[in-house]
Symmetry: C2
Subunit: 113 residues, 2 copies
């Protein structure tokens, strides 16, 4: 199996809090994480609900989330599934994700992506 298309993911134990906070500090990324909290999505479905964003831009945000350890991005046939690394996050930073997701997005003028 040449070129297994697997992207690098930090392992659960080595997640860095500030990196996670930074990844979540962008309104568009946070909005996506909220959606991912309800289940995995293929990359194309990670597009903001309303408008469209260039693929490269979306991919860049996914990279930020992935490198921080917030999401996992696995190839599945010709597409990729993006999922929240909930267990790993809960394990490493207990209560953090719940606290972040608990806030019912009253804010975020920018929202989405």
């Amino acid at each position: 199996m040449p070129g297994a298309r697997d992207l690098p993911h930090p392992d659960a134990a080595s997640l860095v809090l500030t990196d996670v906070l930074f990844a979540l500090s962008d309104p568009s990324r946070l909005a996506l994480v909220r959606r991912l909290a309800q289940g995995p999505l293929e990359v194309a479905a990670c597009q903001p609900t309303g408008g469209e964003v260039p693929k490269s831009t979306l991919s860049h945000h996914l990279k930020t989330l992935r490198e921080a350890g917030v999401v996992r991005n696995v190839p599945e046939g010709r597409q990729r599934y993006v999922s929240l690394r909930r267990e790993d996050l809960d394990d490493r930073f207990p209560g953090l994700l719940d606290a972040v997701l608990g806030t019912t997005a009253e804010e975020d003028p920018g929202g989405s992506v």
Copy 2:
């Protein structure tokens, strides 16, 4: 009373999650917040435990934290006291601060300020 030296602070109800997350996403700011969790400090005492940082740089970080609503900065005689807005944060984002502070800073290569 001219020039009461009061700095603007967002009120509790209008705190924005992403702004708070961003403010906490910097290792030096997070390290300071951890120290403030143990009680207020005058600005000079906000210096990183080891090294020294220019006053303007420190002031800039305090501004970021203050504008996000993470800390309060009140004049007291000729100095200023910086304190964590714990109640406001707990009120607005229940569990967030506890989760962030709960992590016993194993990380953060940069630390401090």
